[in-house]
Symmetry: C2
Subunit: 280 residues, 2 copies
Amino acid sequence: MIQVSDVDALRRRIGEARSAGRTVALVATMGCLHAGHRSLFAVASRQSDFLVVSIFVNPLQFGPTEDFDRYPRTPEADAAICREDGVALLFTPHPRTMYAPDHSVVVEETSLSRGLCGSHRPGHFRGVTTVVTKLFNLVQPDIAVFGQKDAQQTAIIRRMVRDLNIPVRIVAAPTLREANGLAISSRNRMLDQETRRRASVIHQALRAAVDAYRQGTTNASRLCRDMVARIEAQPDFLVEYVATIDAESLEPVKNVHQNVLLAVAVRAGGVRLIDNELIL
Amino acid sequence: MIQVSDVDALRRRIGEARSAGRTVALVATMGCLHAGHRSLFAVASRQSDFLVVSIFVNPLQFGPTEDFDRYPRTPEADAAICREDGVALLFTPHPRTMYAPDHSVVVEETSLSRGLCGSHRPGHFRGVTTVVTKLFNLVQPDIAVFGQKDAQQTAIIRRMVRDLNIPVRIVAAPTLREANGLAISSRNRMLDQETRRRASVIHQALRAAVDAYRQGTTNASRLCRDMVARIEAQPDFLVEYVATIDAESLEPVKNVHQNVLLAVAVRAGGVRLIDNELIL
């Protein structure tokens, strides 16, 4: 595995792979790699010859009151996982490599990013679209794999690729779950054992809504009300949002149908967890 | 010459040129081609094997009160000029090819674009950076040539390329002038003959400031005051701004030195004209 931190070395190595006729995939991460990331690596590997993984805790996507400094960083363990998973190139830039002191250009999605997580994390998605544009321009991948767990992010990236004509194919990989159904996330390790066990309620609530829909309940308000009730029955669990939205436009729907996304964000003992299910 | 209007054909034709080992240059225009554009084509041709010219009157860079509908369009004459100048590929997309009805992603420069033309044309540079990003992603040129006449625009594009890591080299081509010194621009044809003759005062004022600097006057306020007085001595000429700014950061300077740009915008009989000189 090649590991580089500077831009010239990155471009040179990728140029070599391209010259050798390899197709390039990118998985962009903030490190602290877990089974969820590894499932993205597996999807990317199956569809390309040269897997590039970036690890960059992107300051631009954290709000002033958010946990940028406290965000977990495990560089040695991450490199070992990448090596084990057959990653061809690991890109670990320093923040000053990515952002000049007088950095002044942003990429902004102005519609899909307004609601849901966007309304609770102002500026977050602008940070995401800006850094992902930079990574796309640096790596110029044929495909890029994102997790369906971050459904709003993936929809925004797809929109960005369409609207800016970025020559990359976006692949959404299914959400990986712990044995109890909890969606795998870096933030899960911030949960105490007891809360982590009880956090299974989030996926249970989503599954119950899907079941209710299959049994004929299409009324969005009712499905949402039931999800909130089920999740908030757990002590110290607070729903930030529950939404029934079109999977592409992210517009709220009143009646659930195919291609509607059920999406939730919950503060579980102070830790922010998100999850979703797509109506097929 | 190949002429295409759709994105798939564009990508295919450029792919063929690349496969044949050609280096690609882009000159992005709004059409109504004149000697100024042709001087950009000449610079681009000298530095590449396959010259792509885009003609697209970009609605996103016109303000609601500006002249998008009245902007001159001369498609046949433009194609003839491109053919004559050895353009390899002319890209003439329709607005709906460039912008989906639910288009929602913009590229925005937030520092250099604030002053000068930016403060008089809100949203203008956001329209420019967005469309140029799209064209860069569609054409993926090795080099792109912009006119030094639009000094602020060229500085913003350079900043965008740096901050978003766009793999293209930006070349600034010198300003072409009419016999009387007036910078060549599509808007010149909106001037009546008399005003067009008198508009030579703009470049005369800039040259007088450069001469004064060479003779020891470095005080920016004084140089600016003299430029305004000289230009506004012409009936119906109104200075929108005169600025002495760092050529890269576009920050105002109090004392003129090397790499300072003298930039002016003037309303001459209602037509907006810009020009600049760089202190060498």
